[in-house]
Symmetry: C2
Subunit: 131 residues, 2 copies
């Protein structure tokens, strides 16, 4: 597929798809006319990239850990150097920390919302299933 379709399928702008390519995150084939030619797997790959970016990982790190993650899953760890494993482990741990922090903040928000709710509508427990 060409870039426009991938963009539609992933919701990621053409510009960004080219940017990700420039950063070495995706490497599409080229048709004879020079058009980028993506295969289906790139859809998931792009989504994965978005997820990792949303996780706060910079593209240069994503580039390194992506090869460990996107594969058809399995029998595919020959190219895992010790450095890569260390990097992956460290990023995984950072992710865990980040998840914990986000969870704490999320829970604080929920707690606050609950308190406000109870404050303005002090009701019996049975009525709590409104929303």
């Amino acid at each position: 597929m060409r870039i426009g379709e991938l963009s539609r399928l992933t919701g990621v702008s053409r510009r960004l798809l080219r940017y990700y390519e420039e950063q070495g995150l995706i490497v599409p084939d080229r048709s004879t006319n020079g058009y980028r030619d993506y295969d289906e797997r790139n859809v998931d790959r792009v989504k994965q990239i978005r997820g990792l970016l949303a996780a706060g990982l910079p593209t240069r790190i994503i580039k390194q850990i992506l090869p460990c993650l996107d594969k058809p899953r399995s029998i595919h760890f020959p190219d895992a150097t010790p450095e890569m494993l260390a990097l992956l482990t460290s990023e995984r741990d950072k992710l865990t920390d980040r998840i914990e922090m986000l969870t704490r903040n999320r829970d604080a928000m929920t707690e606050y919302l609950t308190e406000v709710e109870q404050h303005r509508a002090p009701v019996a427990p049975g009525q709590l299933h409104s929303t």
Copy 2:
């Protein structure tokens, strides 16, 4: 305390502390000499800000939801407008989505690491407590 100490206590650069102030996230007093004068609560507040930033919230959103979160916790929701509650709820939900995405990625990394581990050291379960 002055900005240097707060910086030390929070690990956030002076520059950023001033930036957060410029963005309306913290509002220190001023000594007669013009120096910023922070109180202890600002330590937690700054950490909270860092947490929310790490969560991907922009400062302008943080500015809006922070008043709901940092307080001495409790009896303090008079200034919660419906808009603010809606905003807070929506950001909370976004956070939840983000947490789920991060968790999926984290688990994928862990899964990969586990597979590699098993591949290069196919051992009995009893030996798994090495690290």
